[in-house]
């Protein structure tokens, strides 16, 4: 064995480069995790077909249900997609690699940023697939270009918010499988919203929950933008909820990451 040449180097990578490296890493890991990637693409398609052809006829015999349900499917898939961030983050935190990153002179919180950006990319792709399939099964939105952009903006804000929330959940849960089950619990929220049926068809007590949880205003805003249903003040509620959860999750992530130091 030849002698290894020592290489002195005191410079460390800049903040921007560190983030870029971690984003590259997470995207590469996403692409390698074929099962999860196929799930992320197939799930939206299956759900879309399920709700349109299986439930749709019973919920709205007129056949217009697809126009109603598309925003709901988009959010449900975005939720599922972001939830895998919790698993990815928990996996990193329970693997020795996090200790290596932490003992390097870099901003190690960027590991999480990497996962968040990869999740944004994955979920944007899944959203595109949902919208594509929606058109195939008869979705006919009335939105103009600006409304489309606004709707996409809200969707991306929603994905970003829930990805950071799931990242925080991944940080505090003890193992990837625990992270996965916490994530699953949160994914019931879309069903208790106006995603699949109007909330006024629900019992009174449930309406209280459904109308005052973050998913409903987001759904109503997207639906209004895409299909022209009334939005009222729902857009502000949507942005407000998302900003609030986003900020809380960011702070939560930051604190959890510092606290988790070296404890497994």
């Amino acid at each position: 064995m030849t002698n290894i040449t020592p290489r002195a180097f005191t410079k460390s990578s800049s903040f921007g480069l560190t983030n870029a490296v971690f984003i590259g890493r997470s995207i590469r890991l996403s692409l390698r995790n074929t099962e999860a990637l196929i799930m992320a693409i197939m799930l939206p398609v299956m759900l879309m077909l399920l709700f349109t052809y299986v439930f749709g006829g019973a919920i709205d015999p007129g056949g217009n249900y697809v126009n109603y349900v598309v925003p709901g499917i988009i959010l449900l898939c975005a939720g599922f997609g972001s939830a895998s961030t919790a698993v990815d983050v928990a996996h990193d935190m329970t693997n020795g690699i996090i200790d290596r990153f932490r003992t390097m002179p870099i901003q190690s919180l960027s590991v999480i940023t990497g996962h968040v950006v990869a999740s944004l990319a994955r979920n944007s792709l899944a959203t595109a697939v949902v919208i594509g399939v929606a058109f195939l099964v008869g979705f006919r939105p009335s939105a103009n270009a600006i409304e489309w952009l606004a709707a996409l903006g809200i969707i991306i804000l929603f994905i970003l918010t829930f990805t950071w929330l799931f990242a925080a959940i991944g940080l505090v849960s003890g193992s990837p499988s625990a992270a996965s089950s916490y994530g699953f619990a949160l994914l019931f929220l879309p069903y208790l919203s106006s995603a699949f049926v109007p909330t006024d068809t629900m019992p009174n007590w449930l309406q209280g929950v459904a109308n005052h949880q973050p998913i409903t205003p987001v759904i109503e805003t997207i639906r209004g933008l895409l299909t022209g249903t009334p939005i009222h003040d729902q857009a502000w509620w949507a942005i407000g909820w998302c900003s609030f959860i986003l900020l809380t999750s960011l702070i939560w992530c930051f604190i959890a990451f510092q606290k988790k130091a070296g404890r497994r």
């Binding site: 064995m1 030849t2 002698n3 290894i4 040449t5 020592p6 290489r7 002195a8 180097f9 005191t10 410079k11 460390s12 990578s13 480069l17 560190t18 490296v21 590259g24 890493r25 590469r28 890991l29 390698r32 995790n33 693997n95 020795g96 690699i97 996090i98 200790d99 290596r100 990153f101 932490r102 003992t103 390097m104 002179p105 870099i106 130091a261 070296g262 404890r263």
Partner: protein, 295 residues
Amino acid sequence: MSKLAIDVKGLRKKFGSHVVLNGIDISVPVGTVYALLGPNGAGKTTLIHILSTLVAPDEGSVKVAGYDVVSEKNKVKQSISLTGQFAAVDEMLTSEENLQMICRLSGLTIAESRTRTDELLKHFDLTAAAKKLVKTYSGGMRRRLDLAISLVVSRPVLFLDEPTTGLDTISRRALWEIILQLKAQGITIFLTTQYLEEADQLADRIAVINGGHVVASGTANDLKSKLGGEVIELHNSNEELIGTVSTTGTIHDIRLSLNELALKYPQETRVSIRKPSLDDVFLLLTSKKLEESLS
């Protein structure tokens, strides 16, 4: 006095009500190999985590490469490399990708990263597997990659937490050779191990910790001589070890012991006399502690 790469005084750490380190003093001169021995749960990993800035100490002063691990964390990080107990590699990446990632994070340009990666792959005998996912690697290959990653840039102090646990004899010896090469380059190496032979082979100084204290420290020979003279070993006719007795090594003491043993053991018992090994020291030190804590 020679310069110290690691200087720990009065270190205490507890997690909740569980005291893990209870007043540790350690000093490691620059360019030496220091081995930390101790049974499972003795606090070896916690000590490495404190030295490598992952965990903050509760009390005491801890300096690595001359910098304080609390107030000069970043300076410490620039001076150390950690190879943890679990191979810190990305399983779903290839070894080439793993190395290049750490090169880039260490501030090397893309071209420099490529050269350095090739260099390290070659040195650690991983070139053939460079483009295979790490999850397909054997334990020995993972460890080699892990160590290669730790050496992307040369830091003056290298921490190795149980570097050869779970490796076969050949991989273990190959790793020892690399560790000795690094020492020859002037790198200070602080390692924990459960294998006494490893400490014996590699370390200039050894500390045994148990119950949060350093119960003994010194060179391997210092520790062995603590046990005094010779050890009598008794084997039965099937060559199985049936007893050991420590003696002071004088003819008088050995004779007395043998007289006693002759009454206790069957006639065909075979006797051999050897120098005490580190295992004897370790067992003595840690079991004594154990008895104390039980009583």
